[in-house]
Symmetry: C4
Subunit: 253 residues, 4 copies
C-alpha cells in the first residue's frame, strides 16, 4: 500500500456537489451529523481512502468480517444541491498525516467537481447545553455573511486556539486551493457524544443546502444519552446523600 490509497467503489454523477466532512472530534458532533446525512438521504458509497496515517487497525462488522480502517466518501442526493459526504472512524494519527489526508480529501472533492466545503464539528463549552448554538468560521467574508443569514454565530476569539485537525485543515488548505470552505461547529459540553448538537448543525445545513431530514433516529440516540446523563446525576445525588457534606452538617447542627 502507498502512503495514501484511494479505492473507487462506485461512480456517481454529481452536479457541483458540496463536500460535507464529519470525522470524529469533540462530542462526535461532526461524525454523528455526517452519518445521519448518509443514512437518511439517498446515498452511495463512492470512494474509500486508506492511509498509513490512520491507525494500524481493522474494524470488524457484525458478521465477523474485518476491513482495513479507512475514510469513506458517499454521493448523497436529495436536496437542492448534491452532497459528497466524508465519514470515517479516525483522523490522522500524526501531524504530517493530517496535512496529507486533508489534501487527499480535497483531491477527491476536486475529482467530483465540488468547489464548496462544509466541515462539521463540535465546540466544547465545558457545561451542559440548553440551547444549541452553531458557531462558524469561513474562508472569506462573503461566506461569513451567508452563514450569519441562517443563524450561524461568529464570536470574536472563538473557538479560542483556532480549529485543529481535519475540519481546520479542510478550511485552511481549502482556502488556499480556492474552495469556498466553512466550518460549522455545534456547541456541546465536550464530555459526551452529543446527538442534539449534531441536529443543530444539520438544521443549519438544511437551510443552507435545501434538503430535509427526518430526525427520529438521532432523537432516539439523544434520548439514550439523556438516560445516561440522568443516571450519572442520580448516582451523584445518591452519593451526596450517603456522605454528609459540610453543608448538611451545618444544617443539622
Amino acid at each position: 500500500m502507498d502512503e495514501l490509497d484511494i479505492e473507487t467503489v462506485a461512480e456517481a454523477d454529481l452536479s457541483e456537489p458540496v463536500l460535507v466532512e464529519g470525522l470524529p472530534g469533540v462530542g462526535h458532533v461532526g461524525k454523528l451529523a455526517a452519518e445521519h446525512l448518509v443514512e437518511e438521504l439517498d446515498s452511495t458509497l463512492v470512494r474509500r481512502v486508506y492511509s498509513e496515517h490512520f491507525p494500524p487497525q481493522v474494524d470488524i462488522d457484525e458478521e465477523g468480517v474485518a476491513a482495513l480502517t479507512c475514510a469513506e466518501f458517499h454521493a448523497v442526493e436529495g436536496g437542492d444541491r448534491d452532497l459528497l459526504v466524508l465519514t470515517g472512524d479516525h483522523q490522522a494519527q500524526d501531524n504530517v498525516g493530517h496535512y496529507r489526508l486533508a489534501s487527499a480529501f480535497l483531491d477527491v472533492a476536486d475529482e467530483f467537481g465540488a468547489d464548496e466545503v462544509f466541515s462539521l464539528g463540535g465546540v466544547p463549552t465545558g457545561e451542559l447545553i440548553e440551547e444549541y448554538d452553531v458557531l462558524g468560521a469561513a474562508a472569506n467574508g462573503s461566506l461569513v455573511e451567508e452563514l450569519e443569514a441562517v443563524g450561524v454565530e461568529f464570536r470574536e476569539d472563538e473557538p479560542a486556539g483556532g480549529i485543529v485537525g481535519v475540519s481546520g485543515l479542510l478550511l485552511g488548505l481549502g482556502r488556499r486551493r480556492e474552495f469556498d470552505a466553512a466550518c460549522l461547529m455545534g456547541e456541546t459540553s465536550g464530555y459526551l457524544v452529543d446527538p442534539k448538537s449534531a441536529r443543530a448543525v444539520l438544521e443549519t445545513l438544511e437551510e443552507l443546502l435545501g434538503f430535509e431530514l427526518d430526525y427520529e433516529s438521532l432523537e432516539e440516540r439523544a434520548d439514550e444519552m439523556e438516560d445516561v446523563i440522568n443516571k450519572i446525576q442520580e448516582m451523584e445525588q445518591q452519593q451526596s446523600m450517603d456522605v454528609p457534606t459540610d453543608e448538611d452538617l451545618r444544617y443539622i447542627g
Copy 2:
C-alpha cells in the same frame, strides 16, 4: 540499511503454504503459538526482515553473540499443508512502520506462493480464564463459516475497537491483496504471558491445517505461570491477613 531489508537465509520449496504470524501482543499468545509451531515441527529459517521501524536494538544469544533485531520466517512442514511461520521479538515502533512491515510480510508470503494467512493473537478479558475460547475475525464470509465449523467463535462487537497492530494489518491489507486472511485470538486475562491460550489457538490451527503437535513444553511453561499466579495469590492472602480490613474490624467489634 534501507527502510526494510529482507535477508535470504535459506530457500525452501513449499507447496501453497499458509502464512502463520505470531509476533508479540496481548498475553504473548501469538508469539508463544508461532514459536511452538517452529520448535515442534520440522522447520527451516528462510528469511530475516530487518527494519528501521523495529527498535534500534541488538539481541544477545547465550554465547554473547549479538544480532540486529529482526522478524523471521520459517518454512515448516509436517501437516496437510506447508506453513510459513513468522516470529520475532518486536512489532513496528510507529504507525507508518506498522503498515510498511505488514506489507513487506505479505510480499514474502507472496514470494513463497502463500495465499492464505492466519494471524494469531490474544484477546484480553480482564479476568482469569477457566475455558479458553478462540475468537475469530476473517476477510470474508466463507472463511467465517470455515472457522465456525472448527469451533472458532464470532461475537458481535468483539474484539471491541477492532484488531490493532500486525495481526490486524495482515488481515486488512491481506484482504485488499486478495489473501484469504483470518485472525485467531485466544481469550486471555491480559495480565500474564499465557501458554494455555496459545495452546487453544494451536489446537484450532491443528484442526484447520491438519498437523499434530506435542504440547509438553507449552504445558511446562503453563505450569510455571501457574506457580507464579499461585505465589501472587498467596502473597495477597498473606497481606490481607496481616492488615485487618474494615470488614475484619466490624466482625471483631
Copy 3:
C-alpha cells in the same frame, strides 16, 4: 501542499537587511519583540511559510475568517538597516521539522539578500526579574565583541543546555551557511508572558541596528501582566490568612 510552501504576498526592495526572528518560546519574549517591531515601524508582509510541520490548524481572525497557520516575513524599514522580521504563532512540531523550517527561513533570508541574523528569545531564570539583562550567543568571536560593546552579557555555561528550537537552529545552521548569526535572550522568570524582557531585547537591537521604537503599547501589556501578578500574590496572601498554618497556631498558642 508540499512539505513547505512559501507564498509570495508582496515584493520589497530591501538593502542588505538583517533577519530578525521572534517565534513563540520562553516568556514569549522573542514573539513579543518581533511583533512590536512590525507594529511600530513601517512594515509590509512579504512572505508566508506554510508547512506540514506546523500544527494542523487554522487561526481565526476577528471577522470569523480562518487561515491556515503559518510563519510570516515582514519587510521593515525605519532604521540604519532594513529588517526582515519573522513572526508567527508556532514552532515546528517535530524534530526533523525544526531543521526543515529553519533551513527554509534562511532560504528566504538569502532571497532578500540578508547575511546577518538575530534570533530573539528569553532565558528562564526561575525567579521574578528586577533588572532585565540580555544574554547573547553568537556564530563567531567578532560578533561576541560587537554584542558585548552594547551591553549584551556572555556568561559561561549559559544558557545551560544550549539553545533549543528555531532560535538555536538559525544560529547553528546560519553559521554553517556563513550568516553572521547571533541570539539575543532576555532574562525572564519563565512563568509568564514577559513584555519587559521583550523591551530589554529590543533596546539592545536599537543600539545594534540604529532604529528607534515607541514602547507605549508594550508598556501597557507589561502593566496588564503586573496586574495579573499582583492579583495572584494577593490571592496567595489571602489564602495564607484564611487557613492558619502550623506557625500561626504555635504563635496563637
Copy 4:
C-alpha cells in the same frame, strides 16, 4: 541541510584504525571513556556529522560562540593500533534516526579503512559498584574468545533486553556489514555519571589495542562524584536522625 551532513574538518592517514564509539548513555560511561581517549592521546578532529535526527539545538562554548550540535570523529594515534574515536553530546532522537545515524557512522569508519568497531557503554546494576566488571557482546564467537582472554565477562541473558541505541546498532548493523564489532559495557549503578566504570572499560581497551593512558583527570572526576555521593549519604543519615523511624521508636521503647 540534508538529513545527514558529514563535514570534513581534517584529513588523517590512519592505518587500519579501530572505530571506538562513546556517545551518551547509561552512566555516561561510553562518553567519558571516549572523551578521555581523545584528551589523553594524540588526536585530531577529522569529521563532524550533523543530522536532522539530533535535537534542534546549538551548544555554546566558554567564549559564547554557538555551534550546531553534532557528533565528532577524532583520529587518534598512540598505541599499537590507530583509533577513530566517535564522541558527541546526543544520540538520535527518533527510532529511524538511530538507524540512519549508525549507518552513517559506519560509512565514515569505512572511509577511514576501519573494519573493527568497539562501542563503549554502561550496564546498569541498580546498586553501587565495588568492583567494576566489564561485560561484553560481540558480532561473532571468535571475538567473544578474544575479549574473554582480557577479562571481559559474558553472562547469559545480560544485558537483559539486549543493547539499545547507537552502541547496539553499531554492533548489529556492523555485523551485517562484516565489521568485527563488539560492545564493552562497564558495570555502573545507573544513577550517576560514573568515571570509575569508564576507567574499567578503558583499561580493557588498553589491553586489547595496546595503548597506555594516564587516568589522573578521570580519577579527579571520580573523586568529585565520590564527594557528591558522600554528601547525599550524609544528608540521608541526617534526615533519618531527625525523624525517628518505627525502628528507632521500638528501640527507645
